[in-house]
């Protein structure tokens, strides 16, 4: 379980490897908030290497989305696998996020 952060043009791209759960959600949150503090505005979280997100992981995504919006920024999600897509649909979380099928599409959408 780890997070890697890199810059693609103006967009901060975060890769979530493994799971996003109660045990590591604070780490993700801190990393994104640090970037936000540095003045970054555009964020993309890529879940292509993510198998599972638990409820506290979802909570952190919502909380980050709010904080980024408050600073005038934007958050996009990309590459949710079928299970995660279903989870977002079932819980209506898809209405709270802009979700793209691929990283390229997400980057283009900013």
């Amino acid at each position: 379980m780890s997070f890697s952060i890199k810059k693609d043009g103006e967009v901060v791209v975060v890769d979530v490897e493994g799971q996003l759960i109660v045990g590591n959600r604070q780490e993700l949150k801190q990393k994104v908030l640090d970037e936000l503090e540095r003045g970054e505005k555009k964020f993309l979280i890529d879940f292509s290497q993510t198998g599972y997100i638990d409820s506290s992981g979802l909570g952190v995504l919502v909380s980050l989305s709010k904080k980024i919006r408050e600073q005038g920024g934007e958050l996009r999600l990309a590459n949710l696998n079928d299970d995660l897509k279903t989870l977002f649909e079932l819980t209506k979380l898809d209405t709270l996020f802009q979700i793209a099928d691929t990283r390229e599409r997400a980057l283009q959408s900013f």
Partner: protein, 531 residues
């Protein structure tokens, strides 16, 4: 000197001369008679070894006196004799070494006896300390008693026991002798001038002579030389020996320095104190752990008590419900409400996260939903009021609640529901397939918009409402595979015409069979309703 008296008597019998031995154990008092024949004269003149033999006059005739060579101050007096033919000087030459040898042996025996008595005292001290440590877990009390016992044995009038506190990196007094404990100050483990700190750091005893290493913090229990011995405890490998504190002793009654024997004895006792300190800590930790486990158990029972009995909505509705928290307390819950007009309110919720914080939000949701359910029969409105009550708590804790709330009205053959992010809500209409009652809004606390209410037809006494949390579908077997939603629905489908309580038992059996003894990662809740 009984044996010596016999020798002198035998001498007299052989020579007809009186004989006596005088000793001076105390240099400030005059010599006194140690042993002598019946008519031996009193001697007043005591020559030194260098003076050799000297003749003294007594009323019964001349006598010869000489100092006995050896460590003890003693004199041998021979004469007077009834026979004039006895050569007293020759007798003196013969007898003086014999008496000297005797006195030397007697002195050695005396030393050995003293030594034995001291060892006995030390062994006795070790026994006493073992006994003190064996019957108490109160470290301060044990340290106080041990300090006074050990001081008594080595003849020290002042001392202290200091224990290391990792949090403050200092040595804290737990017992003091010769000063009130309240006046004794802690010492930093890095202190440069303190004898205690140096012994602690070096993990080796330090003997500071009078006037050496004077530190104001140690002045209360130090006079003259001070012996500081580290209290060591040997942990199982790889940690090995570590210092836990120090024992200090000072101000010896005899005024002499501490001997190698004293140092060895105190080092042995310090090791025993180390074991006692460690025991005390382990006992405390164990008691604390038991207390926590007990409190968790109480919290679990309290949380279970918050959940309603299945039969509070009977006979209008038959309900089978179960919650199994992953930890002692959790964030899953359900609630049942008896409403006007024969209607029944059914709610299931899952607070994000686990543990105490989730349990508190759960308890709050339980009581708030009970109030709001009575004020409206519209599920969307009820959930909107609920989130209104809890918005601040949810925002500050960054938690949210996925909730489903339905109001079943069998008289009107209708069910109204609102679903805020709850993934597993189904209706099983009689003779038909499952219909998913999908979420109409994201979980409570994530979105500002009021939840929507949806409506379905309801066949009274025949249709089944099926609600469960993701703890059920995500339950893993020992190989890490999830149970999955379909397996749960399949089981219910197979037993659809049975009583909801029986259907629940079938699902629980399937769940148990799947998970075997794998640990639960999430709370797990299921509610089945027929109305």
């Amino acid at each position: 000197m009984i044996d010596l008296a016999r020798v002198l008597d035998a001498f007299r019998a052989a020579t007809d001369c009186e004989a006596s031995v005088w000793t001076q154990p105390n240099p400030n008092a005059p010599p006194s008679l140690g042993a002598g024949t019946a008519n031996a004269p009193t001697v007043h003149h005591f020559p030194s070894v260098a003076d050799g033999e000297q003749t003294i006059a007594t009323p019964a005739g001349d006598a010869l006196v000489a100092a006995v060579p050896g460590p003890r101050r003693a004199w041998l007096a021979l004469g007077p004799c009834t026979s004039q033919s006895i050569a007293l000087r020759a007798c003196m030459t013969f007898l003086l070494p014999v008496v000297g040898q005797y006195l030397q042996s007697a002195l050695e025996v005396e030393h050995a006896a003293n030594e034995l008595a001291e060892r006995y005292e030390e062994i006795n001290l070790l026994y006493t300390i073992s006994e003190i440590l064996g019957r108490t877990v109160a470290l301060d009390e044990a340290a106080r008693t041990i300090l006074s016992e050990v001081s008594e044995t080595v003849g020290a009038r002042r001392g202290s026991v200091l224990v290391f506190d990792r949090a403050t990196n200092s040595l804290h007094p737990v017992a003091a002798l010769g000063a009130p404990l309240a006046d004794v100050h802690p010492i930093s483990a890095d202190d440069a001038c303190s004898v205690s700190a140096r012994a602690f750091r070096a993990q080796h005893l330090v003997l500071a002579e009078d006037g050496e290493m004077l530190c104001p913090e140690e002045a209360q229990y130090r006079r003259g030389a001070m012996l500081s011995v580290p209290i060591m405890w040997t942990a199982p490998a790889p940690r090995g020996a570590e210092p836990l504190g120090v024992v200090n002793l000072s101000d010896r009654r005899s005024g002499q320095s501490f001997t190698a024997g004293d140092q060895k004895l105190i080092a042995a006792i310090a090791t025993q104190i180390g074991t006692a300190i460690q025991n005390t800590r382990l006992v405390r930790a164990s008691v604390e752990q038991q207390r926590l486990a007990h409190e968790m158990q109480l919290a679990h029972e309290l949380q279970m008590k918050l959940l309603p009995d299945d039969d509070i909505v009977a006979p209008e509705a038959i309900v089978a419900a179960r919650v199994v928290p992953a930890e002692s307390v959790g964030g899953d819950f359900y609630n049942l409400f008896r409403l006007s007009g024969g209607r029944t309110g059914v709610m299931i919720g899952d607070v994000s996260g686990h543990g105490y914080q989730a349990a508190l939000i759960m308890a709050l949701s339980m009581s708030a939903s009970a109030i709001h359910a009575q004020s409206t029969t519209d599920p969307g409105e009820m959930l909107a009021s609920l989130v209104g009550t809890m918005r601040e708590e949810l925002a500050t804790t960054e938690m949210f609640i996925s909730a489903f709330y339905a109001v079943i009205d069998p008289a009107a053959n209708q069910m109204h529901f609102a679903n805020t992010g709850h993934p597993h809500a189904f209706m099983l209409p009689h003779g038909q397939e499952f219909e998913r009652l999908a979420a109409t809004d994201p979980p409570l606390g994530m979105d500002e918009r009021p939840p929507l209410t949806a409506r379905r037809g309801w066949s009274a006494g025949r249709d089944l409402l099926v609600l469960f949390t993701d703890g059920v579908t995500d339950a893993r077997n020992p190989a890490g595979e999830r149970l999955g939603e379909e397996k749960v629905l399949q089981t219910i489908r197979a037993h659809r015409d049975e009583d909801p309580r029986e259907i629940l038992e079938h699902v629980v059996a399937v769940l148990d069979e799947h998970t075997e003894d794998a640990p639960r990662r999430d709370d797990l809740t299921m509610v089945l309703v027929r109305s």
